[in-house]
Symmetry: C2
Subunit: 189 residues, 2 copies
């Protein structure tokens, strides 16, 4: 395990246990078994550690398929989201990251940037389907992905309901139905 | 202004300014100009104050119409949500309440209860439309309302994007399109 990996793992543990308020370069360095100076040189403060974790999450298993069927591709994407949040450690880390946005402007900025990049990448199968004429011209690919993802986060952070087994299937099907109805078109405004 | 109103207003200000961690019976009493003993008798601790605020929000302008058209009813409901979060003070309070769920198990319980009641009430126009045969039999009314609301909260708390002007219209239309496609049916599980 190199220094970066050790710092990622330690940041994750610290965030899960103590939240953003408990996150510090000193504690992460101690947990990672690395000198404070080394950690501080590469990641200067708590916000830099949060940003590092978002980078790491950005690499995570976004299920992007190209089966020729946008329905299959989006079902796989939604199933991937469900599988991700089915892992308690990943779910706990992401929860702590989202709540960090309330504690720090820097963390909020990292969260925003994370989603801008993530949504753009996840929209690839939708872009292909529009180009192929499988979804209405003028459909906003990012909006389709927002619609697919929103139900997961709504339950996790707003209504605090469990993610039931059928959610992935339903979220993908609902986003596709809305797109096919021509509802998810680009905004004039 | 009676004591309850004064305490509601003071709790709201305290939460907006200092978040859940800064919320205390003492500070709220001082702000409301009421004795600590009086506040404590009625609302014993910070969680009781949070719960009071959820009660108050539960009374807030849920736009429930009965026009005979579920499309019109749900567009009005979504426009009502947009209008609500367009008021900076209400939005700031609700943000603080949602983030409170990360700081306290009691606040999380209040948030969960708030949504259980709110979703059940908001689903009334959908129930009527199903009974009238305007939406497919087997449609889950609560799930239609979740689908309509999720995009607002996804932007406010997850992607940290603005609520654009067309969002209400789009959210209502998307939920209806998904319901009409038969995607939002009751779970067997």
């Amino acid at each position: 395990m190199d220094a970066r990996e050790a710092v990622v793992a330690a940041t994750q543990e610290e965030l899960i246990e103590n939240g953003y308020d408990g996150l510090s370069v000193e504690r992460v360095a101690q947990r990672a078994g690395i000198s404070v100076a080394t950690v501080r040189d590469a990641w200067g403060d708590a916000d830099a550690l949060v940003d590092l974790l978002f980078d790491e999450f950005g690499e995570h298993e976004l299920v992007l398929m190209n089966t020729g069927s946008v329905d299959t591709d989006l079902r796989a994407l939604a199933a991937g989201i469900a599988a991700f949040y089915g892992v308690p450690r990943l779910r706990a880390t992401f929860r702590a990251l989202v709540y960090s946005a309330d504690r720090s402007r820097g963390a909020a900025e990292s969260l925003r940037r994370f989603w801008t990049q993530r949504l753009a990448r996840a929209a690839e199968p939708v872009r292909r389907a529009i180009a192929a004429g499988d979804l209405p011209a003028g459909t906003d690919p990012i909006e389709v992905i927002r619609m697919l993802g929103a139900p997961f986060y709504y339950r996790m952070f707003i209504t605090l309901e469990p993610l039931d087994d059928a959610l992935a299937e339903r979220a993908a099907a609902a986003a596709l139905a809305a797109a096919r109805a021509g509802v998810l078109t680009r905004q004039a405004s």
